[in-house]
Symmetry: C3
Subunit: 194 residues, 3 copies
Amino acid sequence: MNTTMLKKKYYVHTQGICETRFVGPRTKIWAFTHVLPKAQIGSDVNLCDHVFVENDVTIGNRVTVKCFVALWDGLRIEDDVFIGPGVVFANDKYTRSKMYLPSFPKTVIRKGASIGAGAVILPGIEVGAYAMVAAGAVVTKNVAPFELVRGIPARRKGSVCKCGFPLKKHKMQWRCVRSGWHGARPSPEMDCVR
Amino acid sequence: MNTTMLKKKYYVHTQGICETRFVGPRTKIWAFTHVLPKAQIGSDVNLCDHVFVENDVTIGNRVTVKCFVALWDGLRIEDDVFIGPGVVFANDKYTRSKMYLPSFPKTVIRKGASIGAGAVILPGIEVGAYAMVAAGAVVTKNVAPFELVRGIPARRKGSVCKCGFPLKKHKMQWRCVRSGWHGARPSPEMDCVR
Amino acid sequence: MNTTMLKKKYYVHTQGICETRFVGPRTKIWAFTHVLPKAQIGSDVNLCDHVFVENDVTIGNRVTVKCFVALWDGLRIEDDVFIGPGVVFANDKYTRSKMYLPSFPKTVIRKGASIGAGAVILPGIEVGAYAMVAAGAVVTKNVAPFELVRGIPARRKGSVCKCGFPLKKHKMQWRCVRSGWHGARPSPEMDCVR
């Protein structure tokens, strides 16, 4: 934890509860949001109203978490991830009240990925870098990088650009419908942001 | 803003946060609900616990919003609308963290419409007057007035009466299964309420 | 209400609101959770952050309710039930704003059942003892005891053990994939817990 963090250069709304000190600079924690003592949160993160963060959770830099999202033990959220409103994570596939697993499966959301509004993510899933999960999807299998998935259960419906817009195959190249970027394949190093 | 509103003839729970003054008489804002400063809310509205209302939002009269609903910039809710618990609105189709649209698509819920529990409404959608979205539906296309839609993606499954009950076609006329009202077509002026 | 309850041997977080006195010992009510005055809650119950409980609701013993769940009038939750995060209950099938039913249909979740993350439960449903509703399912019909249902609308996909793991049919017997328990049929008296 660096000095900047100790000086509390992050913001917590008067009606938010942040019990961890592991919060990076310029992060904002809004009203009715509750973060438990051992969670680790990067810089420039935005946790909107009504978010719950358990202890064994790490959140990278520049992550956005919208309203009504709970991040349970076992979740790993990398840099630049977007978690839409009402996204639901599960961490026990065969849950019974008061019966606990010896440990929780890790769920990993890789750098730059977006999880659409109201999507449900099953336990132990990995969503690849810059992938996009459509609103309302139920994700039961891993999602590859730059892949767009949709439906229940979620299935591959195309590819997306680093900027989030669709990629179309055109003369053996991928082309971004928004910017016109084109290349052999999308990659984390590509230069297409809004 | 009329005098009645200035006298604060509306109710905010001690654990609710209402930052706007644009609230009509007899409106109730319950616990853990947060309304931002520029939102405009009509009279006799009920915002249940755990609702979030952003700035560029208008809500008509006699609207009900149940728990765990966020109303984002760009939303227009007309009179007499019902928004069920856990309904999720999206306002950016190709979302990435920290990449913003120049402006948000308008999502419009027309007079008297009902959005069922847990439904997901994609950006830029218009739900017609007195339409009904079934619980759990994912709405990807506009919904016509008095139409009932269901499923993922939501598809037309019938018509509903102004009172919310199903309409059945019977001898070239629509008939309300609850009241027996019948006529050539449902309309906002029809006389069938509970 | 017994003496133990009067001594308030249950816990309410400083930012939780519990208006009922009908709460059993060792029950925990966490932050941003709101319980109305007439709700009845058993012992050893865990209501996580961001739960809302209306008046005409009964909750048995050892029940777990995760974040972002509202329990409406008419709900009956028996002992040992698990309600996952973001589960949505509906209590009026043909809802219109400000039009009320003469009474609410009862929704009953029987002993030991589990409702998966983000599932939607229609009004008047009975979920049988030790049944399991998969994450993201929309339940439109009653669920039999020990049955696993999944999808939209939810359909039967198998049977589950008292411990929550799948049961497989093997030589005319049911067998628990986790413990190896086997027998003619699962029952509430069977000995297979974690």
